[in-house]
Symmetry: C2
Subunit: 321 residues, 2 copies
């Protein structure tokens, strides 16, 4: 039985268990959703698209896709220090597959629930599998952490570990083997967790922040360019998981941590005098380098060192085209 | 030369002439856009996707696609009485075609400029041509016009003329011929205008409103269902353009006006005592029927009459799947 668009939305999305939010005046089911913004706050918003075969492998389950599509958008909110509030979902499907939709909804709403995020609207269309999600979050006025305020002398940090999603992709591309114990690393690729609490904790502490979606080197370079500064990072300080260290030679581990995308950790800079505050508030943060003033005619905006010596690697990051 | 995603966004979108809005704290180029909402207002938001070959014909130009993708989203704002403010754009392209992108941007930004709408963020991905736009608008708190407050005794109105986009589609499907003079009707399909001023003018006047995207009968039925009322509409009162009347037999003209989609006119209901107010404020509105209380066991939620007699037509509306 083929259902109408409206029935489908009703069936799979409107009846889902959703957190109650008093700032949602009108949710799914009209021409627009209607919402309010708490006084003294600004609205952070971001839209991201996942295309089948490009942003997730064919082997990804619908539940993983539902999770990841939301996670990467919430990660953009985390990257400015915002607290998630509402999302909209534009879902393009080649055909109605009710099992697929139910699993997608499960991945999506399970994550949404964890972050008190409400689905307030969407559009369901027929076409090649494509998922666009727009996330909206709140941030106290003036406290958004952007890419453009890194200062010379700032220390550079990343949360948790880097390169794990890259390792998982290497496995999927049959470039390496993993033991059964190491297979849990696949979750880092398929079900990344947005670092919302970390982003919020860094309000009034971090000078600049970005989430690592295209690879540390590429994403940190955005901070450098937009802040008009340079940086040195120290490879031996990059936080690597035990699995990554064990599964591949150290050089490849460094390369994945530096250039592979999809980790969705936060990379941020903060003044040196915040170091002990960060240590106490953010157990997961590791200091990996420092921001320098950009010298004239210096071609090395981002200098990578290993044990104090220059180390040259490809730092292209993920190319979208 | 293939440009990076970031260069492309910069080149085609970030440098466009855009209206200045003091409510945009941070626009394109960071993880999130940051915005503020004027005091006493609510935020109206809607997301819509256009898929190539489904929502626009292959013959549509990039400039028309850029216009239409934005127009259908602004139309959702019009349908609740909101004033447009900001939009985000998720653009999925099979390959970088700079001529196509420049034309798309021209159609998009020309319309955006007319409604003081700013592009504040986006995502550019590779894949089958798909365009998702999320529109955000403002409305004084409590004044949003929804689908669910039509009242028995309300009169039903539509703006401008209906069926013109359907006529244009009929021509593209080679079902009819058009004279060179009649070809201007193609604009109604390719470059619909969102009825923003009309939507705003109807605040505190209309009880319920929707935009006609799937066809009058289908869209009015949403109002009826969500308001739990019934309606009678009078075919002979439907506003038909001279072109539509001349190009096809009257019966087909009625059918197109009633069931063809893509007109993006507003359909609204308002109390009888607002009739002269509407006449003076909204020259483009035509009264086409009235809302009735739903009788038990009456299968005709929407009754269509011609010269006072029941008239039966297929009223399915556009099927998304």
């Amino acid at each position: 039985m083929v259902m109408h668009e409206f029935d489908l939305i009703q069936h799979f999305f409107a009846h889902q268990l959703q957190p109650m939010r008093t700032d949602v005046v009108l949710g799914i089911g009209d021409d627009c959703a209607i919402t309010t913004l708490p006084p003294g706050h600004e609205l952070a918003l971001s839209i991201d698209t996942l295309v089948a075969g490009i942003h997730f492998p064919d082997s990804a389950t619908a539940e993983e896709i539902g999770h990841k599509a939301l996670a990467v958008n919430l990660s953009d909110l985390a990257a400015v220090g915002a607290a998630p509030a509402w999302v909209t979902l534009a879902l393009t499907l080649p055909r109605i597959d009710e099992v697929w939709l139910a699993l997608f909804a499960q991945g999506f709403f399970t994550l949404a629930q964890q972050y008190q995020t409400v689905l307030i609207g969407g559009d369901l269309t027929r076409g090649p599998l494509t998922i666009s999600i727009q996330a909206h979050g709140f941030i106290p006025a003036g406290q958004a952490i952007t890419r453009s305020h890194a200062k010379p002398g700032d220390l550079i940090y990343v949360t948790n570990t880097l390169g794990d999603a890259g390792l998982a992709l290497h496995y999927l591309q049959q470039k390496i083997d993993l033991t059964p114990q190491q297979m849990s690393i696949m979750q880092r690729l398929h079900k990344p967790m947005p670092r919302i609490a970390e982003g919020i904790a860094l309000r009034n502490i971090a000078n600049a922040m970005i989430d690592v979606s295209d690879g540390l080197a590429a994403d940190l370079s955005h901070i450098l360019t937009q802040s008009n500064v340079s940086a040195t990072i120290h490879l031996e300080r990059l936080p690597l998981s035990a699995t990554l260290r064990q599964a591949v030679p150290l050089e490849l581990a460094y390369s994945l941590a530096l250039t592979a995308g999809d980790d969705y950790e936060l990379c941020f800079t903060a003044p040196k005098n915040k170091q002990s505050l960060i240590k106490s508030k953010l157990k997961s943060a590791t200091c990996i380098g420092e921001i320098r003033a950009t010298k004239q005619h210096d071609p090395h905006q981002l200098m990578v060192q290993l044990d104090g010596k220059p180390y040259f690697v490809g730092v292209g990051g993920y190319q979208h085209f």
